[in-house]
C-alpha cells in the first residue's frame, strides 16, 4: 500500500552473535504513532537500533522496508537521509562538538542562525546551543536536545527511545509538545505524513501524545498488539505477567 512507511517482516536481530529479536512483524503507515511497551531487556531498543541501521545490530533473518524500499542492508547514514530519525535514550557525549553544530548539520544547510535559534527556543535549549553536545546535560536536557535535533532533521519516521525517562513533570508537557510537532499532530489526520514509534516504560508520554497502536514486547517477540491505553492499563494493573498469559 502507498501509505505504508515502515514494514518489518519476520525480523530477527543479533547483537554480538546473540539473537535478541525473534521474527518481529510491524507495519506503520504515514501519520501513525505506535507505542512499544515491554520490560527491561525485552528487546525494544534493539528493534529501534536495528530499524535505524546501527551496524552492531545484525539482521539475521527477515527484512525492513521503508517507503517501499528494502533497507535491510542500507547503511545507517543512508537510512537517516532517506527519512528515518532517532531520539536516543542515552546519547554519547561528543567533546568539542556543539549542539549548534549538530542542529546545523541536521538542517542540511537549509537553516540559518535565526531558524536554529527559533528551534532552540521552542525546545527550551537556547542556552545549550553553544555547549558541547550532551556534556553535563541533565536527563531532561538530553531529551529536549534530542528532539531539537529531530525537529531540525524532520524525519518522516521518528524512533523515540523513552523520550520521557528522567524528565520531570513540568518538562514532560514540553516533551509532549515537541513530539506532537515532530509527528505533525497539529495537522489534520489525513494531512499527516510523519509517523512515530515510541518506546515508553511508564506510559506518561501517552498523556500528551496520542498513539494509535500499542505493542507488547517480551523476550524479543511482539506478543500483543492493540489499543495502547488499554495495554498500558493492563500492564499497570496486572504487570507484564498477565500480558504473557494473554498471549498464550
Amino acid at each position: 500500500m502507498d501509505d505504508i512507511l515502515l514494514s518489518i517482516s519476520q525480523l530477527s536481530v543479533a547483537v554480538e552473535d546473540k539473537e535478541i529479536l525473534h521474527g518481529v512483524d510491524m507495519v506503520i503507515r504515514k501519520g501513525e504513532t505506535h507505542a512499544l511497551f515491554g520490560p527491561n531487556g525485552s528487546g525494544k531498543s534493539t528493534l529501534l537500533m536495528a530499524i535505524m541501521g546501527f551496524p552492531r545490530y545484525q539482521v539475521i533473518k527477515g527484512n525492513i522496508a521503508f517507503k517501499g524500499k528494502d533497507i535491510t542492508n542500507l547503511p545507517l547514514d543512508e537510512r537517516a537521509r532517506l527519512g528515518i530519525g532517532m531520539s536516543f535514550q542515552r546519547p554519547p557525549v561528543v567533546r568539542g562538538v556543539k549542539a549548534l553544530d549538530i542542529v546545523a548539520a541536521c538542517l542540511k544547510g537549509q537553516g540559518n542562525q535565526e531558524s536554529i535559534d527559533k528551534l532552540a527556543e521552542e525546545a527550551n535549549m537556547a542556552d545549550f546551543l553553544g555547549r558541547e553536545i550532551n556534556y553535563g546535560f541533565s536527563g531532561g536536557e538530553i531529551k529536549r536536545s534530542e528532539l531539537m535535533q529531530l525537529l531540525a532533521q524532520k524525519p518522516e519516521l521518528s524512533l523515540l527511545d523513552e523520550p520521557e525517562s528522567g524528565v520531570d513533570l513540568i518538562n514532560i508537557a514540553l516533551i509532549g509538545e515537541l513530539i506532537n510537532e515532530l509527528l505533525e499532530k497539529n495537522h489534520l489526520i489525513r494531512d499527516r505524513k510523519h509517523a512515530g514509534l515510541i518506546i515508553t516504560h511508564t506510559g506518561h508520554i501517552l498523556d500528551y501524545v496520542n498513539a494509535r497502536t500499542g505493542y507488547v514486547m517480551i523476550e524479543g517477540r511482539i506478543i500483543g498488539e492493540g489499543d495502547p491505553h488499554e495495554i498500558l492499563a493492563t500492564i499497570k494493573e496486572k504487570g507484564y505477567k498477565k500480558c504473557i498469559e494473554c498471549a498464550k
Binding site: 535505524m52 546501527f54 551496524p55 547503511p75 545507517l76 547514514d77 537517516a80 537521509r81 530519525g85 532517532m86 536516543f88 546519547p91 554519547p92 561528543v94 567533546r95 568539542g96 562538538v97 556543539k98 553544530d101 549538530i102 548539520a105 541536521c106 542540511k108 558541547e132 535535533q149 532533521q153
Partner: protein, 414 residues
C-alpha cells in the same frame, strides 16, 4: 613578593653558557648544533612591511601575521633569518622593537636577562647566549592595554641556518598585552634549526595572552625555551598551535606563579603528520596562595609521534590546578604518549588531571551518522570539534586567527 635577583655581568652569563655548551637537554632527541651554520645574509630593513615579497607575506599570513594592513595590530616585529627587518608600535604605551635595540634603550633590561630561563639550562640556551641573532622585545607600560594584538614573526629562510633568538616580554602593572607570534620556514624541505628563548614578566595585575602558531617543514628542528614569571593577580594565557610537519620539536615551558592569585593557562593544539616528532609540555609552579592554573592539550596524530607532558606543582595554600591531555590517533603508525604529573607539597592544594588517548569512539561517529552525516563528515565534525579552541579571555581577532590556522590544516588531517 617577587624580588629581582642581583644583576650579574654579561661575562657571567657567557661563562655559564660556555660551560653548558655541550650539555644535553633533559628531554628530546639531541640536535647537533654544529651541523648548522650561524650566519646568514643580512636582510634589508623595511619601513613598510607590506612591501615584503608576496610569497613571504603568504607564509606569514598562514601563521597569523598580517602585513598588508597593519591597522588592526598594535605593533609588528618581523625577523627574517638573523635580521630584524621591521619593528613598529602602533599604540602609545606599547613598545615593540628588536632586543638589541631595547638593550640600548633600556639599561635596566639587563635585570630581566636570563631571569625566567636559566642560561645553562642546556646546550640550546647556551647556544642562544653565545651566538644570539636578535629576537624581539615587547612591553606594555603600566596601565596600558593593547587595543589590537601585537604581532611578531620569526621567519627561517636560509638552508641549515641555526636561528638563535632571545625574546623578552614585559607587561607592567595593570597592563594588558595580546600577542600573536608566528614562526615559519620559507622552504618546504630545507633543514634548519630554530632556538628561541622567550622570557615573560607579568607584573602585578597584568594580563598577557600569547598565541603562537608554528609552521615548519619535515627537516626543521625546533627547541624553544620559555620561562614566565607571574606576579600577584596577573593572568597569563598561552595558546600554542602546530599543525604542519616538523622533524623534531621539543619544548617544556615553565610558568612560576609568584604572586597571590596569579593565573596561568596553557592550551596546546598539536598535530603530527607522519615523520613529525613533537615533545611538548607545560609546567606550572603554584608558589603563592590562591594561584590557579589549567593546562589543556589536544593532540592528533596522523602517523607522527607526540609526547604531551604536563606538570603542576602546588607549593602554597588554596592553589588549584587542572591538567587535561586528550589525544586522537587517526591513523596507524602514530603514537601519543600523555604524561600528566601533579605534585602537591602541602595540605590544601587542589590538583587534578584527566588524560585520554585513543581513536574516535565509533559510538560518536554513529551518533552523527544517525543525523544524516556520512562517515567522513561525521569524523571531520568530531576532529574539528576536538581541535576547537574557545579560549576564555582571548580577543576575538586572535581567536579568528587561531581558528583560521586550524581550519587551514583540516584537509591535511582528514
Amino acid at each position: 613578593m617577587y624580588r629581582m635577583r642581583e644583576i650579574k655581568s654579561p661575562k657571567t652569563y657567557r661563562d655559564k653558557a660556555k660551560a653548558a655548551s655541550a650539555k644535553a637537554a633533559a628531554l628530546g632527541e639531541d640536535v647537533d648544533v654544529s651541523a648548522y651554520v650561524s650566519s646568514a645574509e643580512e636582510q634589508p630593513y623595511q619601513d613598510d612591511p607590506s612591501k615584503l615579497p608576496t610569497k613571504t607575506k603568504e607564509d606569514m599570513l598562514k601563521v597569523g601575521i598580517i602585513l598588508d594592513d597593519t591597522n588592526q595590530r598594535s605593533g609588528t616585529y618581523i625577523q627574517m633569518d638573523n635580521s630584524p627587518v621591521h619593528s613598529s608600535s602602533g599604540q602609545a604605551g606599547i613598545e615593540v622593537m628588536a632586543i638589541s635595540q631595547a638593550l640600548e634603550k633600556h639599561d635596566w633590561l639587563a635585570d630581566y636577562w636570563w631571569r625566567a630561563v636559566a642560561v645553562d639550562t642546556d646546550k640550546y640556551t647556551a647556544n642562544v647566549e653565545l651566538s644570539q641573532h636578535s629576537g624581539y622585545f615587547i612591553r606594555a607600560l603600566p596601565g596600558y592595554k593593547t587595543i589590537y594584538p601585537v604581532q611578531s614573526c620569526l621567519y627561517l629562510m636560509k638552508a641549515r641556518l641555526a636561528q638563535n633568538v632571545h625574546n623578552i616580554i614585559i607587561a607592567e602593572e595593570d597592563s594588558e598585552l595580546h600577542i600573536i607570534t608566528g614562526c615559519a620556514a620559507a622552504s618546504s624541505k630545507e633543514a634548519g634549526l630554530h632556538l628561541g628563548v622567550s622570557e615573560f614578566y607579568l607584573k602585578r595585575g597584568a594580563k598577557v595572552t600569547f598565541t603562537m602558531i608554528h609552521s615548519w617543514n619535515p627537516e626543521v628542528a625546533v627547541r624553544p625555551r620559555t620561562g614566565i614569571i607571574v606576579e600577584e593577580n596577573a593572568v597569563f594565557l598561552s595558546n600554542y598551535v602546530i599543525m604542519k610537519p616538523v622533524h623534531s620539536l621539543q619544548t617544556n615551558p615553565v610558568a612560576r606563579c609568584i604572586g597571590d592569585n596569579a593565573v596561568v593557562r596553557f592550551n596546546s593544539i598539536l598535530v603530527a603528520p607522519p615523520e613529525s616528532n613533537i615533545d611538548l609540555g607545560s609546567r606550572v609552579f603554584l608558589n603563592a596562595k590562591g594561584a590557579k592554573t589549567e593546562i589543556i592539550s589536544r593532540a592528533i596524530t596522523t602517523g607522527g609521534n607526540i609526547i604531551a607532558r604536563g606538570y603542576i606543582e602546588g607549593n602554597a595554600p588554596n592553589v588549584k590546578g587542572h591538567l587535561e591531555c586528550r589525544g586522537l590517533i587517526l591513523k596507524e603508525g602514530g603514537v601519543i604518549h600523555a604524561i600528566p604529573e601533579l605534585k602537591g607539597n602541602l595540605a590544601g592544594v587542589d590538583l587534578s588531571h584527566e588524560a585520554a588517548v585513543g581513536k574516535i569512539a565509533e559510538e560518536e561517529i554513529e551518533y552523527l551518522m544517525a543525523r544524516g552525516l556520512t562517515r567522513t563528515e561525521a569524523t571531520a565534525t568530531i576532529v574539528r570539534g576536538f581541535l576547537r579552541v574557545d579560549i576564555e579571555g582571548l580577543p576575538p581577532m586572535l581567536n579568528t586567527a587561531l581558528q583560521r590556522a586550524v581550519e587551514a590544516s583540516e584537509k591535511d588531517i582528514m
